[in-house]
Amino acid sequence: MTSETLVEINDLNFSYDKRAILKGINMTMPRGKVIAIMGGSGCGKTTLLRLIGGSVAPSSGYVKVAGQVVHELSRDELFQMRRKMSMLFQFGALFTDLSVFDNVAFQMREHTNLPEAVIRDLVLMKLHAVGLRGAHKLMPAELSGGMARRVALARSIALDPLLIMYDEPFTGLDPISLSVIGNLIRRLTDALGMTSIVVTHDVQESLKIVDYVYFISEGVIAAHGTPAEVRDSVAPFVHQFVHGEEDGPVPFHYPANSYASDLRLGGRFA
C-alpha cells in the first residue's frame, strides 16, 4: 500500500490571517483511485488542493507527492513536479484567447519539443477522449459550461499526469453534463492509471464514481470511508450532508444573538 501511495498528507495545519483553516489533516491517496473531498462551502477544501499543488505553504505539517515534500521544493523543482499533476478549475479556466485546439496543445507546446504534426494527433486524441474532437476549432466563448469543463479536462490530461485535482467539477452543470463529467473522471482515471482528487459538494453524483471519501468540516476531517460506508453512516454531520438536511450539526443560522433580543422583544417597548 505504502509503495503505491501518491499523495500523503501528514498533520497538516494551515492558517490564513491567524484564522485556522485546516487543522491536523491526515490523508493518504493511493495511485489509480478517485478520492473525493467533501464539505460545506468555505471549509477549506480548495485550500487543501492549493496546498497539494504548492501554491501556498502549510503553517505546519507537510504534503508529500510522489515522495517529495511539496513546500520544500524550489521553484524550479516545483515546476518540474507540476508537470506530473494538473488541476481542473471550477469553471474550467480555459485560455479565452486561444481556440479549443490551442488550449489542449498549450502544455505540449510549452513543455515539449514535439513536432506540430504529433501535437495535432495528440490533441485530437485527447479531445476524442472527452467527445469533443469535432469542436477543436471553436473558441472557449462558444462553448457551453459542460463542454468547457470537458475541454479543460482534455487539457489537464494533455501530458498524461499522475495526479489530477478537480475543484468543484460539477458546479453549475445540468444533470446530463454532470453525469458525463462524472463518468469521464472515472473512465480517464482507470484508463490512464492516474489518481484523481475531486473536491465537491455534489454528494450523489460523486458517491457514484469515487473510491474513497473524506468529509471536512471546520478544518478537520469529520469522517472518511468508502461510498457504501458513507451512505450508511450514522455520524450526524455525514448524515446531514449526504441527505442534504437543512439543520443539524451544520446550523441553518449564522451565529447571532438570540432572535428575541435582536427584535428587541421585551425591551424598550414593553
Partner: protein, 235 residues
Amino acid sequence: MLMLLKSGISLRRFHLIIREIYFTGVLSLIIIVVSGLFVGMVLGLQGYETLQKYGSESAVGTLVALSLVRELGPVVAALLFASRAGSAITAEIGLMKATEQLAAMEMMAVDPIARVVAPRFWAGVISMPFLAAMFSAVGIFGGYLVTVVLIGVDEGSFWSQMQNAVDFRYDIVNGVIKTCVFGVAVTAIAVFEGYDAPPTAEGVSGATTRTVVTSSLAILGLDFVLTAFMFRGMS
C-alpha cells in the same frame, strides 16, 4: 522586473510578442493617426493666427514641428496609448486572473509572468515609439495641409524653416527617448495593475481606471523631468 527582461528575450516567445504588437500597436493606429492629424491641423491654424500678427507666418512649420516632435507627439500619443492599449492590457490580464487562467497556467508549470505579462510588456515598449513617430509625422502633415494647402503659406519656406529649426539630435532623438520612457512606464503600470488586480469585477474595473489615471500622471510627470534634463539651457 528582472524576470521580464529575462523572459522577453527568448525567441520562443517571439510570436507571442508579435501577436501582442498587433493588439497594442496595430489596433491603436487609427486613434493615433486621426488624433495626430487633427492636433497638427489645429496647431497649424492657431500658429498661423498668432504668427501672422508678426508677419512671420512662414515660421508656422517650425512651430508645428517643434511642438509635435518635442512635446505633443510623445505626450499625447502616450496618453492615448495609455487609455487605448494600457487599459486593455490591464483588463485582459486582470480578467485572466479573475477567471483563474493565470492560476491554471501556474499549475501547468508555465510561468504566467513569462507567458502572459512579458510579451505584453515588450509589445507595448516596442509599439510606443512607432506610434508616437507616426503621430508626429501625421501631425506635421496635418499642419502642412492647413497652412500650405488651405491657407497658402509658401511651401518652400514652410519646410526649410522647419528643417533649419528642428535638430535631429536635440529634438528628434530626445523626442524618441521620451516615447521610449513613456512606453516602458505605461506598459509597466498596465501589466502591474492587471497582475495585481483583485480577482473580482470591481477589482478589474478599478485596476483599469487606475492604469489610465496613474500612467497619465506618470507621463506628465516624467515629461517634465525629461524636458528639464534635455532642453535646459537650450533655445
